[in-house]
Amino acid sequence: MAIELKMPALSPTMEEGTLAKWLVKEGDTVKSGDILAEIETDKATMEFEAIDEGVIGKITVPEGTEGVKVGTVIAVIGEEGETPPAPAAVAETAAPAVKVAEPAVDRPVAVARAADPTVPAGTNMKMSTVREALRDAMAEEMRRDDRVFVMGEEVAEYQGAYKVTQGLLEEFGAKRVIDTPITEYGFAGIGTGAAMGGLRPIVEFMTFNFAMQAIDHIINSAAKTNYMSGGQMRCPVVFRGPNGAAARVGAQHSQNYGPWYSSVPGLIVIAPYDAADAKGLLKAAIRSDDPVVFLENELVYGRTFELPELDDHVLPIGKARIVREGKDVTIVSYSIGVGMALDAAETLAGEGIEAEVIDLRTLRPLDTETVLASLARTNRLVVAEEGWPQCSIASEIIAVCMEQGFDNLDAPVMRVCNEDVPLPYAANLEKAALIDAGRIAAAVRKVCYR
């Protein structure tokens, strides 16, 4: 009986991949464990092994095919002596992609960017993933300043656990692109010490969940020392890496630390959404004389956005951006929440509600001015945050609205956050626990009394 070989999901967030190379041809006999093909995900090239014995019947997806959805039949294996099934029959079996992680949608289409006052009008735009934008930011700053170096787990030879540092080792060498052992507390301290010693380290955490092992150095050593030394001790370090929920990785790998770090005086905390902000703000972070926590999002790495083609695209830290203008209500968000807020705004526009969407971009210092100015125009506000509700950025924004924007409020400010539970693994429970555009839209209707 013929067995269908389907495009495998090779990472928690993979939805499609490139069939880079077939290592077998039709008619070959294979046994379990043989390498059949090389498949390129957005992170790596992976080998695809045979699980069953048999003869390769029809190869339905030729090598070099890009964008092959997970679950698509790529070949058929028959038992020895069996006649390979007819190609026509195979083509029909091409199944629809099995969604690996529904909330984890890498946007298939590129997103056009709202006007940004910090980007000169008429600037050429190119398309870039957030992943490439971050890499380019580091590469440009490393070319500019030889004190800048990158350290972390798998940043060099492996090319980055999430491929954010891809190609840096080749260009800058092992002196400046440094693999560390799995030793977060240690290398966070070493990076901090190197910054105190006059260098400009970029310390990558494979995820910010692991940075909990190192948080003492981020807060006690990096954030507080300048103050405690009466302004003598500089600590220009950047701690960066993915933050927040990924897809189906469970509670210990799915936390948003934005609120934690944002509560600490002495730190800069940045959490960009799109490629242009990721690049412009990472460059600014590397140049800053202050310690920066730079929170990325794994689910956004592969998304493609417009990116200004400028020689030196550096954005101001501490400035929010209005990513969609609207007069009826303000939705404040950051990181992955911005995409959902934009989706919600689109839905709401169809209902006659014009929502303004603000991307905070920097979580410390918070640009409350932009938020309050928008509130003064719309008189209604919702905060959307992929994170827990208690002691959140949302609760902070709400406090600011109460303290400084009360007279402008026509309705209570609402927050849309994740459910107040450790993030579950099961697909349905995970989906239920995380914010989405639907919930944001529902909250907006409430504050608009619709």
């Binding site: 290398f187 070493i190 010490g193 260098l199 003492d216």
Partner: protein
């Protein structure tokens, strides 16, 4: 008995070297041949630390110093002996919260240190750090860190910066026998050895982690052996003799400067006072302290040696007198300078404006 597999070589000479060679070099020449002038200077620095700390204890009792205040009395030979061997233009030092002595050993003005202890605007941290959090970037003294053990990876980071800049400097990272049981110390050991960082890890073993005697808190009480798992050579040094400390420093620095990677040096020392000012030190006997004071005091030993060398009692008394004057002046300054301006509350949080 099983035959030794032929493929397995006997312990390579490198391994022998890794563990013993520095100790052997130190044992061969245990004491630094100081000139009279050098020994006088060491004596003077140790007396400065002793008198300064005694005064700090007094000011604490008067309520002029608040919070935690950890005195260095008894351990003076360690900071003085080690730091006298450093190249002030290149090498860096970092330590924990018992940091007054290390700053004084660097020649940092006692007035600004004492004024920091009293929380005054003229303090070295503008009154915002206190006893445990003092720094002098000018002297390449990087603190003064309040979290036990944190200075060890930070020191490895300073050493990383020395190496990265290729200017030949190294770092001394001091920590105590108590901090030696923190996990991050071993993370730093591993990376420092792996990357061959120019750092001397200095364990100031004063016998007690706050109130816990070494043997009650440490499975391996020979701290100099604790780098073995990382192939870091260890040195076991008498921390109560400034010339032994200095001699050991020379051996360790030569190793580090030759690009051979980190050294772990244990200095056996003793603190006469409690862990901090609020510690009554009931966990040890009065006799134990008295024994150390009477028989092993580093200042008495240096004084005896000076006299033996023919330095007059008068000359030594002159030094003592001068130091008392300096410390009195520092205390006076610290007591009478104003508290920080209220604007200090909001400065130095961030370097840049955003």
């Amino acid at each position: 008995m099983a035959k030794t597999p032929s493929a397995r070589k006997p312990a390579a000479s490198g391994e022998e070297f890794a563990l013993r060679s520095l100790q052997d070099a130190h044992t061969a020449k245990p004491r630094y041949p100081a000139s009279d002038d050098e020994l006088l200077r060491f004596y003077e620095q140790m007396v400065l630390i002793r008198r300064f700390e005694e005064k700090a204890g007094q000011l604490y009792g008067l309520g002029l110093i608040g919070g935690f205040c950890h005195l260095y009395i008894g351990q003076e030979a360690v900071a003085v002996g080690l730091q006298s061997a450093l190249d002030g233009d290149k090498d860096s030092v970092i330590t924990g919260y018992r940091d007054h002595g290390h700053m004084l050993a660097y020649g940092i003005d006692p007035k600004v240190i004492m004024a920091e202890l009293t929380g005054r605007g003229a303090g070295i941290s503008h009154g915002k750090g206190g006893s445990m959090h003092m720094f002098s970037v000018d002297h390449k003294f990087y603190g003064g860190h309040g979290i036990v053990g944190a200075q060890v990876p930070l020191g490895a980071g300073l050493a990383f910066a020395h190496k990265y800049r290729e200017h030949g400097g190294g770092c001394i990272a001091y920590f105590g026998d108590g901090a030696s049981n923190q996990g991050q110390v071993y993370e730093a050991f591993n990376v420092a050895a792996l990357w061959n960082l120019p750092i001397i890890f200095v364990v100031e073993n004063n016998g007690y982690a706050m109130g816990t005697a070494v043997k009650r808190g440490s499975a391996e009480t020979h701290f100099y052996r604790r780098g073995t798992a990382f192939r870091i050579p260890g040195m076991d040094v008498n921390g109560m003799d400034v010339l032994e400390v200095r001699a050991a420093a020379e051996v360790a620095l030569a190793h580090v400067r030759a690009g051979k990677g980190p050294v772990l040096m244990e200095l056996k020392t003793y603190r006469y006072r409690g862990h901090s000012m609020s510690d009554p030190a009931k966990y040890r006997s009065r006799e134990e302290v008295q024994e150390m004071r009477d028989k092993h005091d580093p200042i008495d030993a240096a004084k005896a040696e000076l006299i033996k060398r023919g330095i007059s009692e008068e000359a030594i008394k002159d030094i003592d007198k001068r130091i008392r004057g300096i410390v009195a002046e520092a205390a006076d300054f610290a007591e009478n300078s104003p508290e920080p301006e209220m604007t200090e509350l909001y400065t130095d949080i961030l370097v840049e404006s955003y």
